[in-house]
Amino acid sequence: MSTSGSGNGQGRPEQAVAGAGSHQVLTFVLGNETYGVDILRVQEIRGWSAVTKIPHAPAHVLGVLNLRGSIVPIVDLRMRFALERAEYTAITVIIVVSVSSPAGRRDFGVVVDGVSDVVDVNSAEVKPAPDLGSRSATDFIRGLVPVSDRMVVLLDIDRLISGEMSAVSANTLDTTDAALTASAA
């Protein structure tokens, strides 16, 4: 345990935050929790519309949407975080974020219950996520920060989505089992 300086704690997430100073975060609601993503990553907030399903995609990748001419995958964060599933209604919101991955910039849409607010977050106030035993469970959490009387979970959207992508490629290996039984020649 290093106790140097700000007393933020230790570990990788804290270092990533410490360099950033004060920044703005878009907060949104999923079930009873409030989450936040860096506002600079947010491309667009739009209402729900029907998606086109992608074959062999992980369950929480709902499909793809047309976002001004480019094809953008849509991820259901409730399902990603193993929360109870919600109905998609006209007030369901999709936040389109851009992530940087080894393959370059990618755009992703995440389905959330509702968008709350844009808040200023001081890096010094960000607490590291508690160790919950499993590393992968908290890997995409950059930290926790209190905003008014709530606790906001700051997401590391790059890690969240790169986890997505490895899930996708792992999934495609196991593709067409049921489908391609047709074989004659």
């Binding site: 992608i54 995958p73 495609t172 593709t175 067409t176 489908a179 074989s183």
Partner: protein, 736 residues
Amino acid sequence: MTIDLTQFHDAFFEESFEALDSMEAALLKLDIGAPDRELINTIFRVAHSIKGGSATFGFSDIASFTHSLETLLDELRSASMQVTLPMSDLLLRSVDVMRAMLRAVQAKQPIDAQRVSDLQFDLELMIAQKSAAPMPSAGPAPCASPAAALAGSQQAPAPSPAPQAAATPSATATATSAEPAASAAASRPPGKRWQISFRPYRELFARGNDPLRMMRELAELGHLVVRVDTTALPPLSELEPSECHLAWTLELTGDAREEAIRQVFEWAEGDCELMIAGIDAGSPASEILATAGAPLAIKTGAPSDANAAADAILSAASAPVPASKPETAAKADAKAEGQVTTIGDSGSIRVSVEKIDELMNTVGELVITQAMLSQLGTQIEGATAEKLRAGLAQLERNMRELQESVMRVRMLPITFVFSRFPRMVRDLAQRLGKQIELKLTGEQTELDKTVLEKIGDPLVHLVRNSIDHGIESPEVRAAAGKPAFGTVHLDACHRGGNIAVEVSDDGAGLDKDRILAKARARGLVGANDQLTDEQIHELIFLPGFSTAEKTTDVSGRGVGMDVVRRNVKELGGKIELRTERGRGSRFVITLPLTLAIVDGQSVAVGSETYIVPLISIVESMQLKSSNVSRLSGRGEVFSFRGDYLPIIRLHDLYGVEPLTRNLHEGLVVVAEGEGRRVGLFVDDLLGQQQVVIKSLEANYGHVEGVSGATILGDGSVALILDVPGIIRAASLRAVA
């Protein structure tokens, strides 16, 4: 303080590669014995600019090599050496080496030093041979001997006394004002004097121009006095070091011709106001100096480097700027008899593909919005409805034109691919001892950049084949009563919505009997099977098939024609062969103009819509339960024109809930790919339309059985089927 030059590297590499291509083209056009002056100038300019650029960016190996090359080229330019065949070979090899060096530097890999130094030695040997022979000296030759060339190129960056001198402007100015006349009289014959006013635009440095380098070059032409005008220099706090705020007044005394001076500024011409004026040798130097009124002077000739120049600029900035008026320089401009040279823009600009794709996306969106509005327009009633509909019709026309124009932006003439062939044909012909003339026609035919990039390799292969197998040796040709020169002809033209590229030769043509014999020997064809000509031609596209008696390093390994055909098919095209024994052969590749658009058939499976590319559809039909059978529980087949084809249920493949699982209630689309046919079971056919292909991989990843996605008229996304991929996966499973 240094300027980060790496940001200009990409532009430098790109321009250098293009320049090398043009140098190569010029070299190939160069006639031995009677070279075209203009071509030599082109070649020289390329070497010169690469030398300058690489020196600026600190690629000293390239700079050193190109310097030797430039020296040799300069001899050619001044006609003191003749263009010979070995020389043109040497120059072509130099192009290869420069390209290799640039690639290595670009990839941050070590340069093949041995290869470079070998060739550099050859270059210098050739220059030395010239120097040894008594030749009339024509015009100024900056570096006459290889030793000097080396010395020049390896000039180490050394701290210069110039910056220190620059720090005390007033002292230097008085010192130099007396100097030119004295030194000109003492050390040189009194030649013509030139006054040059060089007022660069701010972005001069960004174009890779280095004033110091230019002045050093000028100093080689005669005695040079340089004056800097710092009046435009902002205070240090506002100074942007990557911009040029300085102007120079130069005075050159010597035998230099005006063209030689202009040559020095050639690459900066578009980025500066340049004025060159001759002055009578008799007029007193001090008079000009007075009008110029420049407060600061740097005497060049002393070795210094770019950093030193930057230092000089900075120290000049920190020195108090004397109260001389900026108008003095302007007056000097007006008085002199030269003309201001500003080169206008060329006819094209460089635009990144991303920007064009963005534009295409936006236009695609507009088309969808417009379709939506048109639909709304038909539902509106009332007095203004007719006007609205007329406006919408107009909008639709304009949209279509806009879309076509944007598509055309991506189109490039096929000459980008053809241009590599003259060199290749020349080298191959020389190596194989054949005489070959290459004819290129239809070079201006345009096609999509993506298609263009992928068609290069197949064409290279076909041309190599033509040269190696097709064209006979001169003796054989003479015996057959043909001209000794064989002809390889590359042609491109538009045919309907496609582009046809032809590779033809007047060589031996394909030997049907030999192909057939070989195929029988390998058991590909039964001993008694009778094949049509087309079927025999098909054989050469089989993997591993070659009739060459011996394998050369050019061709005959049997790897190739199958790859050629596969590449062409991947582009959605086809390849045909026509050949006549003894008369030659002709390969015709037909390709779609663009990969961005595909003709598609929309099909419905459950609530989803998929697009099947029309090119892979044979036909669509309704099945009767009588012609469907199950094969040992493993799969379903149906009879189609005497064949049994496997049925692939799209709803299973894509995991969608269909309207019906009964084969006779839906439809079967007979699709072809990889040389095999399958039946795709769908709920319904919807309609045919051209769709714009979008990548799924950009934001998501590859999905098996899907080649991309498109946006339908209502703004929703539909996936495009990868028919060959589906068939491949199906047959893999069949084997397993």
